[in-house]
Amino acid sequence: MQGVVKRYGNAVALDYVDLAIYEGEIVGLLGPNGAGKTTLIQTMTGMVPIERGTIKLFGQSNNPFTHANKEKLGLVTQEITVYDELTAKENLQFFAGVYGLKGSERKERVQEALAFVGLAEYADKVPTKFSGGMKRRLNIACALTHRPKLLIMDEPTVGIDPQSRNHILESVKKLQEQGTTILYTTHYMEEVQEIASRVVIMDQGQMIKGGTVDQLIQSIQHEERIHIDVADTSLLPVEQLQSIAGVMHVDVAGTRVTVISTAGSGNVDRILSLVKEYTGVLGIQTENPDLEDVFLTLTGKQLRDGGGEA
């Protein structure tokens, strides 16, 4: 997609967004709630029309949402979109049928998808009897029976246990090995770090930065992160800390203040002295940046900050 703009009333959900996804990669789309991730998915799948820009799907930019192209697309929705009245197998049969699969081919694909997500034993059970993680896995399986070339996964691990999450992440990696291209949106940094070939950071409807995890971290290597545990955070001179030359971000959470500053600026001493003037220091720790720091540096906020999804 190139130069894509989408507005809802006066709110700009996508602001001249450019995004390219190449065959065989897993693109991790990171962004806080309200960043525009869901709108991005809706526009790139043709669910909602765009106001400006172009969308090219499987090399086709003029009317990209043809039936033939739709057959190559798969969507794992953020909500669990399966039928409660139907068994796991019937749910898969339904979605496979919608994609035109019939007879023995459909039967095979349904069994394959059930086995892939580890639900073969539960084929004849209805989703109401499933745990949250099993429902999520069924939700994924429903998007796999037609073997999509491009699979879009919209926060597929929201609200599930670590075991199911691991299972899903392993499945995603296996799908990539089988040749599926995946767009994986999430606000869990660690998931992206684990599976994505490339990461794209999005905020307030804009693409902020893209690259591999290493490239992104490298881009902020000139920064250092200082964590200081203090006796009373309410006494902290946050504004004064922010005004120190080289300090890019100050974040207070619980009893800890985190300061991101230019590396080698000698700010650690200055920051520590200033904090000590106002409150007791219980501990100090500096660390190398990770993806979380990249996000914080680029957007000025934590990935899991609140706000409604655009």
Partner: protein, 228 residues
């Protein structure tokens, strides 16, 4: 026709639905004849109210699809909105037609004085089309299934009373009788009157055409609002 097939499966998988869809027409068959009104046995009058409830109950599956996000998933599949909707409506219509057949020919077997059973069946089918279309249009107004259902109950009560199914229109003051023609239930009652007393086939056809027009108008309203 995957959607069509699975609509059937979903409709009859739910036990409450199953009872609702099969038991009530059977009960209606055995209801007695009123004297001097209604012109057909009570069950055949009440069936008009019942069909409205069945319609909203069935149409609510479309609403559930919208609320749960299934429609979103389907919207990126190679399935057009028109195909999705028409397969749903066709399945619903067949379910309702089956109920009408059970009611009418069950009544014939039981010995109810239905005068012209085949034309009565035609009338019920025309009315079912209108009821389904109204239910489809109704659910597009709401994002909440329960709210839509309870709102529809009030609507059903209104059209049943004012449309001459519960109280004969002849008892209404003139101004209210004029309003009654706006409701599909009025045309069902008119059609039933014709079944018993009418002789001009054109009059019966007119009643059916009015019901088809209801169906057409509400079908357009209900289908142009995409359920996303």
């Amino acid at each position: 026709m995957t959607v069509f097939r699975f609509v059937f499966l979903r409709s009859f998988r739910n036990t409450t639905n199953l009872i609702f869809l099969t038991l009530f027409p059977l009960v209606c068959i055995f209801m007695p004849q009123g004297d001097p009104w209604p012109v057909l046995p009570y069950g055949y009058q009440l069936f008009g109210v019942f069909l409205l409830f069945v319609s909203i109950r069935l149409a609510s599956y479309i609403q559930v699809d919208r609320m749960s996000g299934v429609v979103k998933r389907l919207s990126i599949a190679p399935l057009s909105h028109a195909s999705y909707l028409s397969q749903h409506l066709l399945a619903y219509l067949l379910i309702i037609m089956l109920q009408c057949v059970i009611l009418v020919y069950g009544g014939v077997l039981y010995g109810q004085p239905l005068i012209q059973p085949f034309l009565l069946l035609i009338l019920y089918i025309s009315y079912s089309l209108a009821a389904l279309a109204i239910a489809l249009a109704w659910i597009t107004l709401f994002r909440n299934k329960e709210l839509a259902f309870f709102g529809f109950m009030s609507f059903v009560f209104l059209v049943s009373v004012l449309g001459g199914i519960i109280v004969p229109v002849s008892m209404f003051p003139e101004w209210l009788a004029r309003i009654a023609v706006l409701f599909p239930t009025y045309w069902l009652a008119e059609g039933q009157l014709w079944i018993v007393y009418g002789n001009e086939l054109g009059d019966f056809l007119f009643v059916n055409v009015v019901l088809w027009l209801y169906a057409l108008v509400f079908m357009i309203i209900g289908s142009t609002r995409k359920l996303r």
